[in-house]
Amino acid sequence: MSVIHVEAPGLFTTVQDLGREGFGPMGVSPSGAADSVSLRVGNRLVGNDEGAAALEMTLLGGSFLFPQGAIVALTGSDFGATVDGSTVECWKPVEISGGQILTLGPTRSGARCYLCVRGGIAVKLFLGSASTHILSGLGGLDGRSLRKGDVLNIGIAETFFRAATLSAKALERLAPRKTLRVTPGPQSDWFPESSQRRFYAGTYLVSEESNRMGLRLEGDPIPTPSGGGEMTTEGASLGAIQIPEGGQPIVLFVEQQTTGGYPKIANVISADLASVGQLRPRDEIRFEKVCWEMARSLLREIEELISG
């Protein structure tokens, strides 16, 4: 079996696929790639199923030795990858020869880079998925981020390899956004007009306290609506924007708590969730309200762009 030796893990690198859905009744959130668009495209580029497991690197990439070689694709943000001193292009299938080391550095754009390998990363599945859920220490490689010296198995690719490509136009349309489009949250009516205006006019800074569970934002605080302290805990959706006491919004993300007790003013549309996965600490973001029909048509558009 082909393997990958982790020579350097990078800042925070985990095994991720498209996550495990359907376990909300046990309190298990799906987890999965923070930027699922990049994961899906990367897998297509190397001839995998869209949902094959890959490595998700965060802000600073690692170094990986491929003793038997592999076909890989780097997607998401540009982490300045090289092999033997030559630059490796992102968004393209690349062949790495046996014994070569792929080295990545600090990000030159967004928060996350995906290393997709032909055959996928083979780990023991937990509830049908390879995704790491860090908080509970489940899934992925022993439920944790990679360490120096880890050895990862590469899965067996089943289909004959045919290099896929992604058009420059599609890549441009899929580029991450800093203005996130949102639909109203289930408690948006609780917030008076003045709070709504403040939320949609404001610029928010992504805090250092952000992770795959949620992004904490800093900006003009949104007053807690009257009665907000007594909200009955209910199911929370991916991309929900909660307003806790203190008024600084929290965006629930892929490793989210499945339920929450803070009122939600808005929800990031599905088409823009991958953009959330590319936000770095100190990035400035804004929110733009769209109608349900727009949210649906943008979701369809993303699907069409990914499937080429």
Binding site: F23, P25, M26, G27, S136, G185, S237, T258, L299
Partner: protein, 232 residues
Amino acid sequence: MPISAPDCVRFQPASDQSLLIYFGQQITFDFHQHVTKLLRLLEREPIAGIRNLHPGYCSLLVVFDGLKLQHDELEVILRENLDRLEDAPLPQPRLMEIPVSYGGECGPDLNDVAEMHGLTAAQAIELHASVVYDVYFLGFVPGFAYLGELPESFATPRLAKPRLRVPPGSVGIAGRQTGVYPFATPGGWRLLGRTPIPMFQPDRSGMSFLSIGDRVRFIPISREQFAEMENA
């Protein structure tokens, strides 16, 4: 009295791919029964396009595939299922016992909580262990069961400043709720004790020690018994 399919049900889009069904706004056993029945019905007879279900105290969040369904279409389907709730039988609840070592380093807030309510620590323990709780739902993190309800007189506010790390197995209270932290997580509930029983184990059948609808009793144990069980 049989529970009739509720007329008061309200649908609310939560995101472009999720819909909330509210049976009410308060924590009541009736609303909880409606949530459980609908959840069980949708688990038993899955509907194409529904991807996930997040139960709450008196609501159910239904996550769906936005390429296959729209809010109004899903609402029609769910209303048909609501009409059948009466026929949805619920299994006899299991009674689960959770041994707890109260106070000391296991329950760092026990004395404060007792004092808040004008009780001795022993009385507070007795009170917490005397109630048979219902599992209203699991949420927050894998295996975290929201248990209700504590007597009104024992309702206790959360910590003003949540702890950054609550040890796994910690038994906390907040408002009239109580629960056990399955993993080391941040948490604002006041901690009365700790159980040696793992609340979530991937290699155990069912994985989660508790499920929605279970009944739960806490059994006080000594520090020594805790240590023995933890090492067993």
